[in-house]
Symmetry: C2
Amino acid sequence: MKRPTIADVARRAGVSKGAVSYALNGQPGVSEATRQRILAIAAEIGFSPSSAARALSGATADAVGLALCRPARILGIEPFFMELISGVEAELSARSYALTLQVVADQEAEIAVYRRWWAERRVDGVLVCDLRTNDIRVPALEELQLPAVVIGGPGHTGTLAHVWADDAAALAEAVEYLVALGHRRIARVGGLPSLLHTEIRTDAFAEVCGRLGLTDAATVWSDYTGEEGARATRRLLSSARRPTAVIYDNDVMAIAGLSVAQEMGLGVPADLSIVAWDDSPLCQLVHPPLTALGRDIPAYGAHAARQLLAVIAGESVGGLQDETAHLTPRGSTAPPRVR
Amino acid sequence: MKRPTIADVARRAGVSKGAVSYALNGQPGVSEATRQRILAIAAEIGFSPSSAARALSGATADAVGLALCRPARILGIEPFFMELISGVEAELSARSYALTLQVVADQEAEIAVYRRWWAERRVDGVLVCDLRTNDIRVPALEELQLPAVVIGGPGHTGTLAHVWADDAAALAEAVEYLVALGHRRIARVGGLPSLLHTEIRTDAFAEVCGRLGLTDAATVWSDYTGEEGARATRRLLSSARRPTAVIYDNDVMAIAGLSVAQEMGLGVPADLSIVAWDDSPLCQLVHPPLTALGRDIPAYGAHAARQLLAVIAGESVGGLQDETAHLTPRGSTAPPRVR
DNA sequence: CTGAAAGCGCTTACAG
DNA sequence: CTGAAAGCGCTTACAG
């Protein structure tokens, strides 16, 4: 099957290629009647302009890039990324933008991908995940002047546009809720310490625990996987003054923690209360269902995509604060059993 | 920052643009010494050929498309897709191919996306998921002559290349294992009945149960979500002659089933044995860990991508049988408690 | 309001 | 082995 070109449309409409281009792109320079006729013919023969030809003529690539820097096993198990992607995609495809995805091994490789995308003119802009403190990707993108939106913050985003959520406030809400239930020994199993949002949560956890006079509050590090979450939980629950409540930085570790508690013969929530970040459907799959801090991740992705399209359009875009995660109490939290 | 073009490289190397093109693409027509010099200069100034210009000159788009037809909530929670994507992506990026992702609402929308991609020359080929019986996407792709590899089968793939796994054999292995443990009343919670692989598993389940003389074997339908998996499990466990073992078509439903059993006061595995398909890390997160039918999904994706690149290269490619899922026994299966 | 033409940055026959 | 040139399919000033 031969692909129709703009010349085919022009010939059938009896106009020049230029006129077809104007008609399709909603530019002035063609009468309304002609425009309608051209549009009808284009639809009839199934014409869509070659994205390569458009991109080459100085127009945009109509594509946005997303590089993911996590190993496959973590990418697969965390609902976060797929939900984010589906939100990004929904916004992009509504504007006929394509999403180009690439998995990278580390930040250097990610920067190399950005350079290549830029040199190839393959994407009009990129979405940046997993922001770190003093992230080397930020100056690299600034230097390339490749439109970019950082998903994360606040802070450490340089001059780049970004969308962020107030994790500190959400964490404080969770701690205050546990304290209100009567908990005094609260621990937190954190995600990768190199990520900015982990650091923000760690600082917020220390701040709120200090403010509430909790002296036994400790953060232990993990990497978002179930194995590490389980290991961290075993360590916490084996300690002399074991916590009566644990907050996990993601749903997968929280579920692993629940399983460890059951394995150790501890009742949840009687002996141990559990709170998870990322209120994915996983949290409601287990028994008891997990109290979780959640927000609309597809919407977060959609907002980031919208910001990026604005940056690409040349608008001046700064930071956008997204909804703060809110706590949904379920069966995994209760007042601590008096011992 | 100005993007370097082939002319910049040619000027600095003191050769024609054609020579640079030959050198970069490994074509004859340039001496080895010149080639090395050109390559060095290209690397030095960070030149990558414009993908648009390459695509327009009749070369390939160097991109492959993947349309996903599942709602965000299912896409997010099932590790399968993200694992598949990361495998696809690993293979593609090793050959400098980009992956273009689009989420679609239904098969008609998916076909429209294929038509647009084809007309826009945006991708060189596509990967097709979630094959159905008499799938309307197959003839549509055949008509477009858009290179495609179907991930699924056997059967119903028309003339398209495909990769598939023998789910019937894997299911038989699981049933035989349960029967060997002493189970006679085995149920199955199936996935979306419209999908071909669900149908294949259903037929295989009926066949092997018949062969082994299990008269109470029943398949109930679900949709891969935890809610539906839980509902189906409640129904099964409330029946007069409730099964002593259940096989679930995915990990998410199996975990939901485990949770329902616990909620109903049934011991797993003492009162109920559970087997899950898709041995993702989720299966080892719960307590007891789930016996599961698993295989290497990233590798499956990589094989599909490799097949697609072969089709794009014009090679004659048929069906490729991938590894059969194998059973990993864990704590969720045991001989049935005598009642 | 319309047409003819240049140009985007490559690839690839075609001459030398 | 190398260079000059056509052409891919668009967009967009530039004339009319």
